[in-house]
């Protein structure tokens, strides 16, 4: 593995130090346990998220006005422990309660749940919203359920927007839940990712292979398919997403074309072009879109597509100002 790192064991802390320094106008880093809060605290319902590290800029990159009040970065690809989540909840809560946005992995779910119980025991009101948008995984009683992937960004955005507008705990929770219900994602990898302390990629792909339905932790995907053109690969993702959540002509959507960490922007534009063609053909309206490396898997090369149906209310939440290290608009 070739990467701009120092001691592999120090990656998480050094990334946080660099990140916090570069964005000291927006965020403050707390250590032992690690969490990231806003440089300037605010009133109202707090939105907290977190999970294993390695998905940068998610989550800490979205701490700031209009989005998260705190993020809890765990070890690489490993859920943060309840004490860290608890510290973030306690730090972010200013009396109006906290909504935790949790990606659906057993470790994340359990650690956030424990933290919530501990927080409640000391007087914090905590709600949890699960994100499980990955259509690559069967949603059935035979699994721990779908994984939470890039759709998390959309859930964090709407929750943060409602909180920023002075929404109540119920309202923030409801908006986040509604987005979590409607959003769907699927991704693929051209190259697997390498955990710094492991040094070998989670899976190896030949030049002729693509991992379809890949997870954001270098988990193998739904199937291994032949390398094909950007348009053909994009079609495979779109087919799966649209089959899972049929959309009607005239529906408006928010679209995220997301790189997996080492995907050059020019390739994302090519994928976006094809997604737009597909949605145009189906009469589906791209009301808003975002193209970039937002929810990543270290140095994975690949792309995921996230689509959420959006009415006027949701679009207004999407358009609300946001000022965070990784995403800024309207201010």
């Amino acid at each position: 593995m070739k990467a701009l790192i120092n001691n592999p064991q120090d990656v998480v802390v050094e990334v946080l130090e660099g990140f916090a320094r570069a964005n000291s106008d927006l965020v403050s880093l707390y250590k032992d346990p690690n969490w990231v809060g806003r440089a300037a605290p605010r009133q109202g319902v707090a939105v907290v998220s977190g999970g294993g590290s390695g998905h940068e800029p998610l989550h800490a990159g979205f701490v700031g006005d209009g989005m998260l009040d705190a993020a809890v970065p765990g070890p690489m690809f490993t859920s943060p422990t309840p004490d860290a989540v608890l510290a973030a909840i306690e730090g972010a809560d200013n009396g109006a309660g906290v909504v935790c946005i949790v990606k659906n992995y057993t470790g994340d779910v359990l650690n956030f749940e424990m933290a919530a119980e501990l927080a409640e025991a000391s007087g914090h009101e905590v709600r949890s919203v699960l994100v499980a948008d990955d259509v690559a995984v069967e949603d059935s009683t035979f699994t721990a359920g779908r994984r939470g992937v890039a759709g998390t960004l959309l859930v964090e955005k709407v929750a943060g927007a409602v909180a920023a507008s002075g929404g109540s705990l119920d309202e923030v929770e409801a908006a986040a839940n509604a987005m979590a219900e409607s959003v769907r994602s699927m991704g693929l990898a051209l190259r697997g990712c390498t955990l710094p302390h492991v040094g070998e990629p989670g899976f190896e792909l030949s030049d002729q292979e693509v991992e379809l339905g890949v997870g954001i932790h270098g988990e193998p995907g739904r199937s291994r398919v032949d390398m094909a053109s950007a348009d053909e690969l994009t079609d495979q993702l779109m087919d799966a997403i649209l089959a899972d959540k049929p959309l009607d002509a005239g529906d408006a959507v928010i679209l995220l074309v997301n790189g997996m960490g080492a995907t050059p922007g020019y390739q994302l534009d090519i994928v976006f072009r094809r997604v737009a063609q597909r949605l145009d053909d189906a009469g589906i309206v791209i009301a808003r879109n975002l193209v970039g490396n937002y929810v990543t898997s270290l140095d994975m090369e690949g792309v995921s597509i996230t689509i959420a149906k959006a009415d006027e209310n949701v679009l207004a939440l999407w358009d609300a100002p946001v000022h965070t290290p990784a995403w800024r608009k309207g201010c």
Partner: protein, 209 residues
Amino acid sequence: MALNQEWVLRWTELATRAAQTHREELTALDRAIGDADHGENLDRGFTAVSEALSQTPQEDPAQTFRTIAMTLMSKVGGAAGPLLGTAYLRLSSAAKPAMEAGDVAAMIEAASAGIQARGRATEGEKTMVDAWAPASRAAQEAAQSGADCVGVLQAAASAAANGAQNTLDMVATKGRASYLGERSAGHLDPGAVSSSYLLDAALKAADKA
């Protein structure tokens, strides 16, 4: 003879040693159907528990179990951290300064129920519940049929070991292994195996008492 704080400390010592001894084995089990960290997680957790206990003198079993719970929760991480943390929190609630056979059975029952509530898993889903639930039932039966503390723990430990073995053919429907579907069959569940070692440590600690 009732069990007391001494037993709790000895149990913890033996559990720490077991986590160390079985570290590679548990990680290998997790490599097959998980993410290859269960042995490391447990070892890291119990090493931290030992330190915590040696640093702050513990008043009684309730406080001790609570310290263990908090330490495991902040050091083990992943799925096992909150599950075992919950189990120890429940042990803490159910513990008394002097514990009779019935108390011990109630404690195991509380721990098992805590794990099931936390993980929303039931028996047969190839998780640590498949060690704890039979252990809890066996402990209850033993206590009801008049066994002493060691007898109750004996019943629990051997039921847990059996339960862990029974996970071999199960198809996982909870936790990380569930993503493998049918391919998870043919492997022991690491959490069930480690749980049987935990209960075995409880027995050995009482045996010596």
